[in-house]
């Protein structure tokens, strides 16, 4: 029997880490992820984990310590947010290029500046091309479940890539929700032990990690990373299948909520999916064919699957909780529209940048998105694909 609990997203993540019992956790506090290493260090002090906790002096060092521990042959974890992730940036690429399956809860917060501690996805978008697998979580339950599945995905021999589990800062990280935990022994069995093929502390095989990699080699090593990322898609689904057998909770590359016959589909990630589900339900009661596609696996981006899932819609809106400031729409918008173009599917699509710096996004906002989509379906024209949701601006936007 699973354990019913009431936990915040941060607590749930820390509990998952306790159950995983990694060899090393190296972390530096930053709002809103601070509670994860805080709760975890309590588990270390209480002796409920065997983990070596390294209280480093910066996030750059946190990721560096994780890289060292993982290369040595251990399982290493950290947690961060926003500018903490930005300070890690150099080492983020080292971790993925050295093929070290470090797992990290990433509690999403706006990247400064100006200084802001609240939720958007601008931190996560900064590492979207870094070779990390990125899972997004709507609820505390999903943040917990994604972490329990993380090592099986990251450490798979066809993958060997680091993995970030994203959740919305404060919105889920600090909100207490009902949650179903898996028993400690079942998690231990599910996650298994990490047995790397090559590692620094193997005295029978002296190895060199991270050598010079010039014109003759780097291209091929990047290709290997790209292949590993492509391989991850299959592994993520296999692990999800096993997880479903264990818990009954079903996970895919994305969640399709009432999309089968939907004419209008909203695509988004993390907690906004919950708000959108409420609106979809209300519209369905009125006989309006609305649906939601919630991306869980953002990296690798499930190009064919997303394109296929959206192919029958008459209009779609892609919601980006980070502005790419590029004059060409947010990152998710670009990924979704590029996936559709390459798969020869043409559906009118619009982009909304929303919720920046923790700006509240309510059901009213999502309703207005569906209203806009209904107008597009009716007129069959898209006047402006690059839109804003909840922005205070004079005149029409």
């Amino acid at each position: 029997m699973s354990i019913r609990e009431r936990l915040s997203g941060n607590e749930a993540s820390a509990v998952a880490m306790r159950q995983i019992n990694p060899d090393v956790v190296a972390a530096f506090p930053i709002t809103p992820s601070t509670e994860i290493p805080q709760y975890f260090s309590t588990f270390v002090s209480n002796g409920s984990v065997d983990t070596e906790f390294v209280a480093v002096e910066s996030e750059h060092s946190a990721m560096s310590a994780c890289i060292g521990a993982e290369a040595a042959g251990g399982r290493a974890m950290t947690a961060t947010s926003s500018n903490g992730l930005a300070l890690m940036w150099e080492m983020i690429y080292i971790a993925s290029s050295l093929r070290l399956p470090i797992v990290m809860p990433l509690v999403n917060r706006a990247i400064s500046g100006p200084l802001n501690i609240h939720n958007d996805h601008s931190d996560a978008m900064g590492i979207r091309d870094s070779g990390w697998i990125m899972l997004f979580s709507e609820t505390n339950q999903e943040a917990y479940d994604n972490l329990i599945m993380a090592h099986r995905i990251a450490e798979h021999k066809d993958v060997m890539l680091p993995l970030a589990v994203c959740q919305d800062g404060f919105i889920t990280s600090h909100s207490i929700e009902n949650i179903e935990l898996i028993e400690d022994d079942k998690v231990k069995e599910f996650v298994g032990t990490y047995q790397p093929e090559h590692y620094l502390l193997n005295k029978k095989e002296p190895i060199a990690v991270g050598p010079m990699d010039l014109q003759a080699y780097l291209f091929e090593h990047k290709y290997q990373q790209a292949e590993a990322m492509r391989n991850a898609k299959k592994v993520i689904l296999e692990v999800a299948k096993d997880f479903e057998k264990l818990t009954g909770r079903k996970y895919g590359l994305f969640e399709e909520y009432k999309t089968e016959d939907a004419e209008m589909i909203v695509v988004c990630m993390n907690s906004t999916a919950g708000t959108t589900k409420v609106v979809v339900d209300e519209l369905r009661e009125k006989g309006i064919k609305a649906g939601l596609l919630k991306i869980r696996v953002f990296r690798p981006f499930p190009v064919e699957e997303v394109a296929k899932a959206l192919s029958h819609a008459k209009a779609i809106a892609i919601l980006d909780k980070a502005d790419s400031l590029n004059g060409a729409g947010g990152a998710l918008f670009q990924d979704v529209t590029s996936a559709m173009y390459v798969n020869n599917i043409h559906v009118p699509a619009i982009n909304y940048v929303y919720g920046i710096g923790g700006r509240d996004t309510t059901t009213k906002h999502i309703e207005s998105v569906f209203d806009d989509l209904a107008e597009i379906v009716k007129t069959n024209t898209v006047t402006n694909p690059y839109r804003y949701l909840g922005l205070k601006k004079g005149g029409n936007q």
């Binding site: 050295l98 093929r99 190895i207 991270g210 050598p211 003759a216 080699y217 091929e220």
Partner: protein, 101 residues
């Protein structure tokens, strides 16, 4: 000596993930002598076999025989740094532009 089979023509399938090297002692496979722009020339007639030059060579490119006498340079690894020439009290090592004879 290790037996690294990877070279500049190896296809992606043969490269190790992350470029990790699974064998020790393979610096020998990398002939850094190519980097040299000036080269030391050993003038054996001036050499007194005092033994000051070979310990300062960062590349271990001055071989010493069983007779404890230094031999000519190993140009596969000598980078031409010139430390040996500075150390020699007898002018038995002369630095010359690479390509000059």
């Amino acid at each position: 000596m290790s037996d690294v089979k990877i070279n500049v023509n190896s296809p992606v399938e043969e490269l190790t993930p992350g470029g990790t090297i699974y064998e020790a002692g393979n610096a020998k496979c990398f002939t850094t002598g190519d980097w040299r722009s000036i080269k030391p020339v050993f003038l054996s007639e001036k050499c007194k076999q005092c033994g000051l030059c070979f310990p300062v060579c960062p590349e271990n490119a001055i071989p010493v025989g069983k007779d404890l006498k230094r031999k000519d340079f190993n140009y596969d690894y000598c980078k031409g740094c010139g430390v040996c020439a500075k150390t020699c009290p007898f002018g038995a090592i002369e630095m010359k532009e690479e390509g000059e004879d």
